[in-house]
């Protein structure tokens, strides 16, 4: 297992940790100042300044883009709207390619609007993923399916377990992998075995945060690493035992706590926790 305590070599920050509204230039400068080598930007930040300018920004600062958030959501407009979602996903692939991201992160999308058929919604996600794949392969952008916690199954993501993601990878082959986020998966009784099943080839991203007790909001109350109950080091051990050598990307949605603090303080805390509890 890698020793994280000595430097920040494998650390990345998902920009949603700092409120995704911040302009990319501001975030990039803060990361460089904090000595953090990785960034996980959101599409909106890239679009705001254009792909070329975004690529130049991260390139000039020597940052590694551990992943771009986020695409997928093929269920959002139902079957009739799949083509529209595919067009948008192809643009997302181009954005990820343009800034040299290691992967594009995909989430399921919730139930098809008006539907109670979760199996059908999952099938539509699989259709969308298969249809997107040729474009992603051609652009050499690996697609990382990120299973979200089952509490998001209705309105955000019908892909909820690593087993589902692994099944999709089995079915689709080269070019599709998985983003393992401890927040979404820590409770899963099959976590260790599904991480092993995924292996280094499939695990394209590894996301860190913590589960607070109590959790006061379903979406925006994630904890800083060490402040919650997730056995972070054990899970990282499983991920690295599978052969994963990528970055550890901190992704914390925290409306009432971390989003209220100065960016430098948040980054300082991320570094300290990354080195001591992850």
């Amino acid at each position: 297992m890698r020793d994280l305590s000595r430097d920040n070599r494998f650390l990345s920050i998902n920009t949603a940790t700092l409120r995704r509204e911040r302009p990319l230039g501001e975030v990039v400068a803060a990361l460089a100042k904090a000595g953090i080598p990785g960034i996980g930007p959101w599409r909106e930040q890239i679009q705001a300044i254009g792909i070329q300018a975004a690529a130049k920004l991260v390139g000039d600062h020597g940052l590694v883009v551990s992943g771009v958030s986020r695409a997928g959501v093929f269920t959002a407009k139902g079957r009739a709207g799949l083509q529209e979602m595919l067009d948008d996903n192809r643009r997302a692939v181009d954005e990820a390619a343009g800034i040299g991201a290691r992967c594009l992160v995909l989430i399921g999308g919730g139930l098809i609007p008006g539907s109670r058929d979760i199996a059908d919604s999952r099938a539509l996600f699989a259709e969308g993923l298969a249809a997107l794949l040729p474009h992603a392969r051609a652009a050499k952008v690996p697609l990382a399916i990120e299973p979200l916690h089952p509490m998001y199954a209705a309105d955000r993501a019908v892909i909820n377990t690593l087993a589902q993601a692994n099944d999709l990878c089995d079915a689709l082959g080269e070019g599709v992998g998985i983003a393992v986020d401890v927040y979404h998966t820590w409770w899963d009784p099959n976590l260790e075995q599904e991480i092993a099943r995924a292996g280094a080839r499939r695990i394209l991203a590894f996301h860190l945060s913590d589960w607070l007790v109590p959790t006061t909001d379903l979406l925006l109350d994630r904890g800083m690493m060490g402040d919650g109950v997730i056995d972070l080091r054990r899970i990282r051990g499983w991920v690295e035992a599978s052969g994963f050598e990528g970055l550890c990307e901190v992704e914390i949605f925290s409306q009432r706590n971390w989003w209220q603090r100065p960016m430098d303080e948040v980054l300082r805390t991320c570094v300290e926790r990354y080195r001591t509890v992850c």
Copy 2:
């Protein structure tokens, strides 16, 4: 599949739907008046008047006790406190036996206090369950493991899937079964197969409510059947295809909506939804 539209024959109301603080006598009278044949009381209500008085109440009104909520929680005081939890669980078995309940509902309990080791907490639950079983068998009270939604894994229940419950049943044999609650399990990609695996012998209780979009509280914002996104009839179909012939127990924790309404209105709505959307 049973036709529920014509009468209330298979309907039961978990008393938490009416705020569990109501005295048992008041609830029993209201159920009888509403023509509802089943009740799922909480231990506190039985304890408040004593087992004999509670048994007489439900007996005089001819109610079926579809289950008693709730026991288990073997992790609550750690390994050192298991004996104390077992003593309490044996009293719960006696209460369930005393009022002729069809089962005693057990939930996992959260992580062992101070621990981040969910596997160890799950092992402690299994130990407690095994230790409780002889007493339950002697009292002829079936133990129904109720997997709770993964969002409760940290602080309420480390048993989160039907697969885990089935595994425990496999390991422990006669006297242990499962309570299937649509709220906790609807998202599970393996739901149909795990219901089939459980079969009629293991499915001891079937709980109804709905998942609202949006859900504003992790614990107290369950929906009335038909107001959310769960495919209730499909899941009931799977449960009945397994051979289940028991009651459908409505269990809705709804602090801001249904708990604010008069008991008669809530019961009327339960009956109407049970007949039309379940």
